[in-house]
Subunit: 573 residues, 2 copies
Amino acid sequence: MRQSQLLMPTLRESPSEAEAASHQWMLRAGLIRQLAAGIYTYLPLGRRVLRKLEQIVREEMDLAGAQEVLMPAMQPAELWKESGRYEVYGPELMRLRDRHDREFTLGPTHEEVITSLVRGEVSSYRQLPLTLYQIQTKFRDEKRPRYGLLRGREFLMKDAYSFDADWEGLHRSYTSMYEAYHRIFTRCGLYFRSVEADAGSIGGEGGTHEFMALADIGEDTIAVCDSCSYAANLEKAEYGGKEQAASEESSVRDEHEAELVRHHTPNIKTIEQLSQAFELEAAAFIKTLIYAVDGKPVAVVVRGDHEVNEIKVKNKLSAAHVELADQTTAERVTGAPTGFAGPIGLQIPILVDDAVLAMESGIAGANEADYHLGNVKPLIHLSQAAAGDFRNAEAGDHCPRCEEGRLAFHRGIEVGHVFKLGTKYSEALHATYLNASGREQPFIMGCYGIGVSRLLSAVLEQHSDNNGIIWPRAIAPYQVHVVPVSVKDTVQMDLAAHITSRLSEAGVEVLMDDRDERPGVKFKDSDLIGIPLRIVIGKQAAEGIVELKTRKTGEVQQLGLEEALVFATGAEY
Amino acid sequence: MRQSQLLMPTLRESPSEAEAASHQWMLRAGLIRQLAAGIYTYLPLGRRVLRKLEQIVREEMDLAGAQEVLMPAMQPAELWKESGRYEVYGPELMRLRDRHDREFTLGPTHEEVITSLVRGEVSSYRQLPLTLYQIQTKFRDEKRPRYGLLRGREFLMKDAYSFDADWEGLHRSYTSMYEAYHRIFTRCGLYFRSVEADAGSIGGEGGTHEFMALADIGEDTIAVCDSCSYAANLEKAEYGGKEQAASEESSVRDEHEAELVRHHTPNIKTIEQLSQAFELEAAAFIKTLIYAVDGKPVAVVVRGDHEVNEIKVKNKLSAAHVELADQTTAERVTGAPTGFAGPIGLQIPILVDDAVLAMESGIAGANEADYHLGNVKPLIHLSQAAAGDFRNAEAGDHCPRCEEGRLAFHRGIEVGHVFKLGTKYSEALHATYLNASGREQPFIMGCYGIGVSRLLSAVLEQHSDNNGIIWPRAIAPYQVHVVPVSVKDTVQMDLAAHITSRLSEAGVEVLMDDRDERPGVKFKDSDLIGIPLRIVIGKQAAEGIVELKTRKTGEVQQLGLEEALVFATGAEY
């Protein structure tokens, strides 16, 4: 491809709206342009990369035995009502009406459509297992689209759905997808971890893993063991070496020892303020938060230096929604302003974290303005509360899997998700097959997603330097950038054309910068668009000598024509 | 691919909702399933064929120098308001609002988006010419979706847009696309004609061609010369050997000869009834129709055996809308009930077709209930009317291009369209570049569409027999169907596996029917899904002999293994 003809509008400066590095590079290198918030056009370079990602995904899906289909973006609302998601999904679901006033959704996902398809076409266990996938545009009306393709409203996804006769079958299908995902992300040059994750609102039972690209901009926090392969989403992360409840022996012998001490703490509300006032570490305090669990108030009690994990609370109570109670509710149930809540005397259910029970004593809110209580002995005073693990894992916690490891935290971008759905959709939509004994059974399903356009962003978060993009070769828009220094020099241009044609014949994709620009401009653009190998054709062209520069390492070599061609067709860059 | 694992639900019977042959075969061979009216899921076989079509289109677009982009389906309504199409497009434009109540359209086409993109990114004549294309899902809320993929509401299209500095450039871009379209449809095995077409409501000046797949089910009528290459849409078709106006000599010498004759014609309204009553051919009558042209009544006068061509009327009057006037209007301007309109005495503009002026005299409506006028001499009585070509071409008319040819009519399915837009969108959206003298000029644009999913239907309208599909090899889902007669026979199965693997290694795509079904069922399905070459492995497997059947010709050969492999990897089927 001749660069003079390519629509590749590079930008000198970083556009102010681009907060994330990947977003900046995509705009500056002319990969994408925004049409509306969270909605982008892919320009030729961006489209090329996206197609390479699609192709890698497609090859690995086919290799894993999945069959490609293509489902519509427009989905009848009836199907979503049948699954119960039409009301639940909320404002992120794009909705429209056709000319006959029939309701449709623009699919953010296709569980309903695929389940209804398979319900109609598959009737016997002999037709199972079956895994279907598509690569298709999805729609989600994000409240705050941001970071370019990382959180968009129209985006490209690969979604796959498996149908099995039993849970063992699902496990095989799931594992096969899990392994395919590892191959896909590896081929794309991504640094990633697969992490155990919570089921979230999509529902379902059993295992689920998220594939996280490690990047500071990531919206998720993941806990990773520094010794074994354990990795989990923060919301799901467990930890080892659980705090033992304070021993019976250390507990009180007589009532006097259990007497609470009333501390006047005017306007001292936060753990930080308490810590200063009492000259004690945060771990010496007991923190009480009032939650609304499916609308009803529940107190959750954790150590002062810990954070409540709402997912663990939710799972413990088998609840649908857990959120912090509003101020009015919190003040009503505690009888005190925010900052003075405590576990003692509350008339609502209380969950107390194991780490609190391991404290001999601590200081907690008094449920009275400007007062805290000292000498709170959890084993005594909180003996009626439900105990368990209700806190987030913390950096330095023991690994829950291995003996030696400690947990460290990273930020991650979710680029893939594998999920054991079980019978959630097959039951809701009455999608059944006949088993070997002729009995009707709901399909056991799994679903598997990859954000293909998001993956493009994630790769760029990891593969750039101050000068621009550094494409992993497998997804580079072109592998070689041929740059004649002066387009007016016919010797250079002839050699450039010769190299381009020889490489193209060898199946190497070449971009040739035939623009009449200063060398500085050409090299700057070349660094910016990040093609893995640059072949500069300058003054030594007459002697048949060219300069090769590897974008990733910056390594420069002067080579003769034939050697250069060997290098450019090889795997050394 | 093993057929036992493939989701390919074939149907014995033709579903009642399928009127078109292509629609029937697509349902019966398990290529597609309907999700909602005009909205389909592509099953694995259908998806494979669709991808092959996509790939052919992509290769030819790239070869023609077009660059692939990907634009969003969701388009801000503002852009459509800027171009003026938001109101004009009518109910076929899918519309929705996002969570912030902003209006969007689901693009049926992308002129607005591409023009606004190029407006922002291209500023100099040095960046021209530029042709961008995409292969993408489009939405159009058809009033009556039908014929499967032929007239759907969500469909796959390739659309391309060219930007040039001048009309000569546009002509080159247009010609390059025109030629690419010929290559594309030829590669797909389609019988087609490129026909001159009218600009239609999309607007623009200059040339436009439609690519028509010849098929009885086609919604368009095309006129084709039986001698030269002339072909045109009925609405656009011209004809040669235009009727000469009746010569002066044959016209009246004195007033008496021009005297009108009043005929009582009670309840005789149609040309057919008149023809019977007067015992004259339809060509002896003069037909007058009242049209609403941009809301104003206009009379159009054609010979009794001719049909008014509304496009020609529209173009003559440079009008935006031409439609038959409603009955009230027609009765008001003629003063008579429908069936008795005539050109004489009307107080509204009159267009009279050349063929009428060639009549010495004729019989026309009297603008009075139950009366017609005889001895109407167009040259005298209609001398004030505007003359011209206002009728449809007819089978048997002279070709407008060559001397010898006569026009014949065919039905066609529009599968492609190339269109010189000119400055319609660049002016509306103020999309300009600086020319060599630094002056701002609007881009000269062209647009080029191919209905990729519709093409799939069109191919199937032409490529089937009573037993099923006959895929053209270039777009067949698999090239070879390996059918072991008995899956319990290990010799057969081993040979089937061997052949499958040898062919796969040679790059041939193979479907292997490993189902435990009766041979009759297998052969029926094989005919139905129409893979070009079938290799049947039966009793002679032990001697290494197999049977090859070419789907298209029905030709059967018994061949040894190696010969069979040579044939299957060759180009002879």
